[in-house]
Symmetry: C2
Subunit: 136 residues, 2 copies
DNA sequence: TATTGTTATACTCTATAACTATA
DNA sequence: TATAGTTATAGAGTATAACAATA
């Protein structure tokens, strides 16, 4: 089939992200996490007592959409909240959350390693800086 | 904020695709098209009398999800269907569809040109081959 | 006044299963 | 038997508006 789309980096970006994302989602699913769950756990792990709003801003997830996400993690016993002041609450991993994060990190790191290996060596080191120029 | 995610190409791939995708969606919205609409129009334009199933396979859109998409394009008077045999139907652009495709192409091409310019020159030519290695 | 957390809601995208009719 | 088109449906991601309480 004649394909005028694949010449566009933007189109390939979408297709590559979708393919890679589906694969990672499947793997994280085996430990009961979504990609957004894993992102939030990693960010809380690296920033104990961060607030929901701050995490959302950093991850480009809106405040309103953080609510069910955090509720899910809390209901699963992975995170807990502690009041900072009357308005904000700091988030932290429980021990179970820390353990789950360790599992997630293993899944993600082996996934990322395989992803990088798929890229021909002469293009490999250019990918991350090129992508960051697009969204950062 | 301490961020362990941005070191991962897979994460940056998602963020870059989302950022780029939102921007293009906004621009295509001004001419009344979604990204999937524009993709399908471009593919029909380059492959007259292609079937819905074949387009879907090529674009990674499932048969079932092609139905409302094509109905929308047909209702808007952009495409028409012609029976190939008792089972399949070939898709073609109407004159209105051809005109809309020309508009979409302008939007996409200027978008893609800007996207490429955002990437530092020494990384620029590596992006497309790296992305294609991921999903093709 | 701006921000935090929240509720409610809606739209889009994606996925699966099942059905009919035809190749 | 496999394929094309279709229906119905569900899950997930994303977006906006609005509200109360607090900084």
């Amino acid at each position: 089939m004649n394909d005028p789309l694949t010449a566009f980096p933007g189109y390939s970006l979408r297709r590559a992200a979708h393919a890679s994302s589906s694969e990672l989602a499947t793997r994280l699913g085996t430990i009961g996490l979504r990609q957004s769950d894993a992102s939030v756990l990693m960010l809380i792990g690296a920033n104990p007592s961060a607030t929901a709003s701050a995490l959302g801003r950093h991850l480009a997830i809106q405040r309103a959409n953080m609510v069910p996400l955090l509720k899910r993690l809390e209901d699963a016993g992975l995170i807990e909240r502690a009041p900072i002041d009357g308005k904000s609450q700091g988030l932290a991993l429980t021990q179970l959350g820390q353990d789950r994060l360790d599992e997630a990190r293993q899944v993600i790191e082996s996934f990322e390693a395989e992803l990088i290996l798929r890229i021909p060596a002469d293009h490999r080191d250019h990918l991350l800086p090129a992508l960051e120029a697009i969204w950062r």
